[in-house]
Every structure is written in structure tokens, then in C-alpha cells.
């Protein structure tokens, strides 16, 4: 069983890294023919960095759009981040001081995820507009994430897992020498679901995570009159030898 789950996890991580890496490389390579930031946009790169930061950390646009979606979405993502960070305690020996510091917050992170996901699922089921735009995969994605967060919480509060053995397994996994996995069905489910999430990441809407950094509506500087943005595939660009190519292609 340990071998099987280790293999699955390795495969999932490989698919995740390679698949997402290729996607990112493709986003980076694809030209941005025109300047299309959603205005008003910042006039400097520093301003754009700040705009992106507000989007990534605070979900600024979503806040403007819908308070409930913002609340549930932000709770879920904040919980996810915190949960990921607290999980570092399984992979570090000795545990980094700041990981030890936040470790007690782990269960709250899990709960925030569950509350956020339930809220999002509720909206998807109850708001007719959102239900209309939902494909089966949109519901399954929420259930998958709920399964991950829920199984984590179950191990914490209901079916306790052998933490020492688990840490041995995690350290082994990180060192490419997997040890014995503690015999727990819930843990197996937790890990299998995580593997599934990693597997589908590069092929699903989870690409919004890397995608948003490449979104021209958000990452471009408003300076089209000052700096000539060159479209590399413009039929004219062959004639434009003297043009300012040092300008920015993309941001």
C-alpha cells in the first residue's frame, strides 16, 4: 500500500509540475498583440505589482463584484494557504520555527476551508445564475476539495492518525525513500484525493492560479502613448526595424 500511494503521489507531483510548467511556459511565450489593461490601470510597473498584489491577497475585483462569493472564496483560499504551510511540519526536521509557531492554527485552516467550500457549493446550487453556468466538473471540484479538507479534519478530531509514523513517511517521501505509511483509511483517502487534485491541476480551471499572473487585463502598464508596444506578429513588424523593440511586450 505504501509503495502504491508513494508511486501515485510521485506521479501526481510530476504531472503537476511538468504540466503546469509547460502551461506557464506557453503563457509566457504567447504574444500579447495589443495593450488591453482594464482601465483605469497603473501607469508604472510598481503600480501594476501593487494591483496584482491586491488581486492575489485581497481578491479586490471579486470584492467589488459579489460580497458573498468574495467572503467564501477568500476564506477557502486563506484556509488553503494556511493549511499548506502548517503541513510543512511533516516535511521539516527539525520543524522550522515559524512553522511550529503557526502549527496550532492547522485545524482552523481546515475549518475555514470547509466553511468557504460549503458556501461556494451553496451558491452553486442555490443561485440560479451560478447553477446555470456550472458543469459537472465544477461541482466535483468543490467536492474534491471538501473531501481533502474534511478528511484532514477527521484525522484531527475523529480517527487520529499515528503522527510519528506519518512524519516518517513524509520525510521519506521528501527524501525519495518512502517509509511505511501508517495504516489509516482516512489518511489513504486524504492522500489519494490530494494526488487527484495535483493530477487534474494542469488540465482544469485550477489553471486560474498561474493564469491570473499572465492576464493582460491586470498585468499591463497603462503607458501605450509613451512606450510603443510592439506586436511581434504584426504584418508591419518586418518593416519596423527602427522601432522601439526594447519596449515591453506584455507588461
Amino acid at each position: 500500500m505504501s509503495v502504491l500511494i508513494s508511486g501515485l503521489l510521485y506521479a501526481a507531483i510530476a504531472v503537476f509540475l511538468i504540466g503546469t510548467g509547460l502551461k506557464i511556459a506557453r503563457y509566457a511565450r504567447t504574444p500579447a498583440p495589443l495593450k488591453i489593461p482594464t482601465m483605469p490601470a497603473p501607469l508604472t510597473r510598481a503600480g501594476v505589482a501593487l494591483r496584482m498584489l491586491r488581486e492575489v491577497v485581497l481578491f479586490e475585483s471579486l470584492f467589488k463584484a459579489s460580497r458573498w462569493t468574495w467572503l467564501f472564496g477568500w476564506l477557502f483560499h486563506a484556509g488553503l494557504l494556511l493549511a499548506l504551510l502548517t503541513h510543512l511540519r511533516y516535511f521539516t526536521e527539525p520543524v522550522w520555527w515559524w512553522v511550529a509557531l503557526i502549527a496550532p492554527l492547522g485545524p482552523y485552516a481546515g475549518m475555514a476551508m470547509v466553511i468557504g467550500l460549503c458556501g461556494l457549493l451553496g451558491r452553486r446550487l442555490l443561485v440560479d445564475r451560478v447553477r446555470y453556468i456550472s458543469a459537472p466538473s465544477d461541482f466535483l471540484m468543490l467536492l474534491l476539495l471538501l473531501g481533502i479538507a474534511g478528511s484532514g479534519l477527521v484525522m484531527r478530531y475523529v480517527a487520529h492518525t499515528d503522527i510519528v509514523a506519518l512524519k516518517q513517511f513524509a520525510l521519506g517521501l521528501a527524501a525519495l525513500a518512502p517509509a511505511q505509511l501508517p495504516g489509516s483509511v482516512v489518511l489513504l483517502a486524504h492522500l489519494a484525493l490530494v494526488a487527484l487534485l495535483l493530477l487534474i491541476f494542469p488540465f482544469s480551471k485550477l489553471l486560474h492560479a498561474p493564469g491570473m499572473f499572465f492576464s493582460p487585463s491586470r498585468n499591463q502598464v497603462d503607458n501605450s502613448r509613451e512606450v510603443r508596444h510592439v506586436n511581434v506578429w504584426s504584418p508591419r513588424s518586418a518593416l519596423e526595424k527602427g522601432a522601439d523593440r526594447a519596449g515591453d511586450n506584455g507588461s
Binding site: 475585483s61 467589488k64 472564496g73
Partner: protein, 500 residues
């Protein structure tokens, strides 16, 4: 279809601004006239549906995704959060679920998923992927011509997904397989041939301008010039051709001329580039957009001007401000002391600040005015030297020439502005129902400010907005002549005779 006058009900204005319940297929019947073969061929597209059009469409989609990072990121990243679902004026005015921005994108996304993503290839039912079929093409034709490319949805999307880009791509694909829209494509053909959307030839234009000179002299006693093709003028004015003949546009043109006159600026219109509009944008055709834009460069070179100034037009200002440098630059042959191009509002604003204009706001005391932010000015370009200048400059200009100015509710102006309902190549009589219904959110805001402040006039800085409002205001119980050009207000307040 062509003969029958559309029967429909104008939406009722409800100030509680409820989001409508879904009304499936409510505007399924709305579609614009299809372009005839000669129109299509005139702008470089096949005359009618090509044989293996499914394949051609899918290939074209792949090509476009490979050429535009934005399109690719937008198609991949939507999480179906629903944040955009109640942001589109066409949805708010019709309740048709396909007018929710994300649902509109999905019409194209489902095909992208089917042919270009792994789950779509093997598990199409799971992710809502679909083959490129005749029904899909038909849906595209209807609903991608129910998007005015106003970008309001992109403001609220957590990833800035811009449905305008998606609908431009869809229209480009449809043109490529031979199914184009008559209104846009016919107009683009005219620009290529005659230099403007109206197909107004040079002698007719010269006549019109001469007539305007006479009218203004008669009315004010001052001889204000409307120069055409004057070599060596300082400023090339590029303005929408509606400014030459349509009401209330023409009063805006008179306003620009008065401003130039009093500031003592030498300026000219070009018969080669007698059109600011660039409908190449609406159909997502880079080639056509570039060809239209290059006329302006050619005119500037030929006339030897120092500056390029654009008149009041929303999408034209987007193409000018955001794209002209890319499409037709570099403009290093122009006077480097001025941005290229400039908006007429920027010119007037600057002259006002320097005290170069003698204004008497009392001339507009019979009016109580509000201002409509055009979507392409608000969300796709800028004025002045700070972010948001596109909102403050026009308001400062209006407030300097008008004693009674009031904004519409905050969630309907600025970056949140509602489209007039006629942008994006939809300003055609075959789409009147769509235009009337899509104007509902703007009319709702206008009626609110009218009730509160006794507003009499709706000022606009876009040729399309002005024509659209003239058409739809009466449907909502207003008068068509309540729309004014911002530069009409300026022109009326300018004291021409006074010493400089």
C-alpha cells in the same frame, strides 16, 4: 425576418434594481443581418460559408489562441465563480442567461475545451465541452452579436477575464468561415474605399464643411474655419464621420472648431482619414483594424501636421489611445511635446487651465446636465496624465461650462459605467430590440438622477452613444434631443467675439 417590424416590450424601469430571473432564450431570436458575399470579399473574407467550415473554425480558434496570451488565459482560467453574471447590461435588460458574460464566453469555451484540452477531448460531458456544430455556429452568431464589448465584466472578474476579447475572437472566426455581420463589414469596406464610414466622398465633405462655416458665421457673426486637407496645419483632427451630419454630433464638431478658433490653433480635417471610427476592432480583425489605422498615419505624413487630435468617439479613442502606436507607429515625426494622439477633451481641458478660452457658463443655464462615461473611454483608455483622467477631465470641462452638473449613481459611472447598449458594432436597426433592452440599466440611472436633480440633458463623448441615446431615449419616455455632445456645451459657452 427583414420585413417585419420587431414587436417587443420596453423594459420597465425599477429603481430597486433587481437582478432579473433567468429567462431562457429570451433574446434567442435576435440576430443581425448577415453580410452579402461582395461585402465579405471586399474586406478579405470568404463570401459564404466555406465547405469544411467546422475544421476551418476550429483551426482558426487554435490560431487565435496561439496569437493572443489574453485569449488563452481567459479561456483557461474561468472558475465559474459567477461574479460577472449580473454585470452585463444585456443580461440585466433581457434576463437571457446567454447574456451573462461567463455564459457568453462558454459558447466559445466549450469548443475550445473540446478540441484543445485533455478532459474536453475524452470526457466532454464532464466539463461541458461541445463539438463545433451548426447549432453552435448559430448560437455564436446570435449571442456574440449581443455583446457590445464594453468590458464591464472584466472589471469584476477576479482574473480580469474580458468577454470583449472572446467575442472579438468569435466574430473573427465567423468571418473566417464566411459568416459575417452586414453592418460592421459593410462599413469597414466603405472606410477602405472612401475614407469614412458613411462613404462620404471628398467633394461632399468639402461642401458640408463649407455649409457649417456659413451656419456658424450666421449664428455668431464670427467666421470660424472648418479646414479640409490643409497642408502644414499644426493639428490633424480625426473625428467620427457622424460629426459631419448627425444630430447632436454636429454641434460637437462646431464646438471643436470654436475651441481651435479661439485658441488660435491651425488645424485641419483630412479627406483621406475622414473617420475616427475603426470597426476593425469590433470584428476582431487585426488586419482590417491596422489598415484603417494606417490611413491616419498616412494623412498625418501627407499633410505634415505636428499633432493628431481625436474627436468625441469612444471605441475610436480606444484604438487611438491604446493601439495606434502599435498599429501605425512610431510617430516620431510629430511634435514630441504632445502625446500622440490627444483627445479633444485633453486639448480643451488644457486650454481652459491655461486661461486661453473665454467661457461663460451662464450660456448653459437652461440645462441641468449629467454625463455618460462611454465604456471604451472608461475601461479601455485614458485621458490626461493620471489614472482615471478619463473620468475627471470630461467632468471638469463640463463643470467649467455648465453651472448645473450632477453625476448619475456611483455604481453606474466611472469604471462601473453601463454601456449605452449600442456599442461594439450593434448600432444597427436590425438589432433594435437588443439595443432598447440593453439600454435599460443606463436609462434606469438616468431616470434616477432626473428625478432627483431635474436633469434635462445627457452629455456624451461618443458618436455611437449619441446615436444610440437619440434612438432609445423615447422608448423610455424621454426626448431624443436630450443627448448633447460635450463640445456642444463648450461651444455654446465660448465667447467668440471677446478679445483674446
Amino acid at each position: 425576418m427583414a420585413a417585419k417590424k420587431p414587436e417587443f416590450e420596453t423594459p420597465v424601469i425599477d429603481h430597486d434594481q433587481l437582478v432579473p430571473a433567468l429567462a431562457r432564450g429570451a433574446l434567442q431570436h435576435s440576430q443581425p443581418f448577415v453580410a452579402k458575399p461582395e461585402i465579405q470579399e471586399g474586406i478579405g473574407f470568404p463570401g459564404e460559408l466555406v465547405d469544411n467550415w467546422q475544421r476551418v473554425a476550429v483551426d482558426k480558434l487554435g490560431e487565435l489562441v496561439g496569437k493572443s496570451r489574453g485569449l488563452q488565459v481567459y479561456l483557461d482560467s474561468c472558475v465559474k465563480c459567477g461574479a460577472c453574471t449580473d454585470k452585463c447590461h444585456y443580461f440585466l435588460g433581457t434576463g437571457d442567461p446567454n447574456n451573462m458574460p461567463v455564459a457568453r464566453q462558454d459558447l466559445l469555451r466549450k469548443v475550445y475545451r473540446r478540441y484543445y484540452t485533455l478532459p474536453g477531448k475524452y470526457l466532454p460531458w464532464l466539463v461541458g465541452a461541445q463539438d463545433m456544430t451548426e447549432e453552435v455556429l448559430d448560437e455564436w452568431y446570435r449571442y456574440f452579436h449581443q455583446c457590445s464589448q464594453c468590458r464591464r465584466c472584466s472589471v469584476y472578474c477576479p482574473y480580469g477575464i474580458d468577454t470583449a476579447e472572446v467575442s472579438m475572437a468569435a466574430r473573427e472566426i465567423m468571418d473566417t468561415v464566411g459568416k459575417g455581420q452586414k453592418y460592421c463589414n459593410e462599413i469597414i469596406g466603405k472606410v477602405h474605399k472612401l475614407g469614412n464610414n458613411l462613404g462620404l466622398p471628398e467633394p461632399a465633405l468639402a461642401d458640408t464643411l463649407e455649409g457649417l462655416e456659413e451656419d456658424v458665421e450666421e449664428e455668431t457673426g464670427v467666421s470660424v474655419a472648418f479646414p479640409l486637407d490643409v497642408k502644414g496645419a499644426d493639428v490633424l483632427l480625426v473625428t467620427p464621420s457622424a460629426d459631419f451630419f448627425a444630430e447632436p454630433h454636429i454641434d460637437g464638431l462646431i464646438g471643436y472648431a470654436k475651441v481651435f478658433h479661439q485658441a488660435g490653433l491651425s488645424w485641419t480635417i483630412s479627406s483621406h482619414a475622414s473617420e475616427a471610427a475603426n470597426f476593425g476592432l469590433f470584428i476582431g480583425s487585426y488586419d482590417n483594424m491596422q489598415k484603417v489605422a494606417l490611413r491616419i498615419r498616412e494623412a498625418a505624413l501627407e499633410l505634415g501636421v505636428k499633432r493628431i487630435v481625436f474627436g468625441e468617439c469612444g471605441h475610436a479613442w480606444r484604438v487611438a489611445y491604446s493601439f495606434l502606436n502599435t498599429l501605425a507607429g512610431p510617430f516620431d515625426f510629430l511634435d514630441p511635446r504632445y502625446p500622440v494622439p490627444q483627445h479633444i477633451i485633453e486639448v480643451t481641458h488644457d486650454l481652459m487651465k491655461r486661461g486661453a478660452l473665454t467661457l461663460d457658463a451662464e450660456a448653459n443655464d437652461d440645462k441641468r446636465v449629467t454625463f455618460h462615461d462611454s465604456c471604451n473611454v472608461a475601461r479601455a483608455s485614458r485621458m490626461g496624465n493620471h489614472a482615471g483622467g478619463q473620468f475627471s477631465l470630461p467632468r471638469e470641462v463640463i463643470s467649467s461650462v455648465c453651472n448645473h452638473y450632477y453625476d448619475m449613481p456611483a455604481n453606474t459611472i466611472g469604471e462601473a459605467t453601463f454601456c449605452c447598449g449600442g456599442g461594439g458594432g450593434l448600432l444597427t436597426d436590425d438589432l433594435v430590440e437588443l439595443r432598447v433592452k440593453g439600454a435599460m440599466p443606463r436609462m434606469q440611472a438616468f431616470s434616477e438622477v432626473t428625478e432627483r436633480h431635474g436633469i434635462t440633458h445627457l452629455a456624451a463623448i461618443c458618436a455611437i452613444c449619441k446615436s444610440q441615446f437619440s434612438k432609445v431615449l423615447p422608448y423610455y419616455g424621454f426626448e431624443m434631443d436630450q443627448v448633447v455632445s460635450v463640445h456642444q456645451l463648450v461651444g455654446d459657452a465660448l465667447q467668440l467675439g471677446s478679445p483674446e
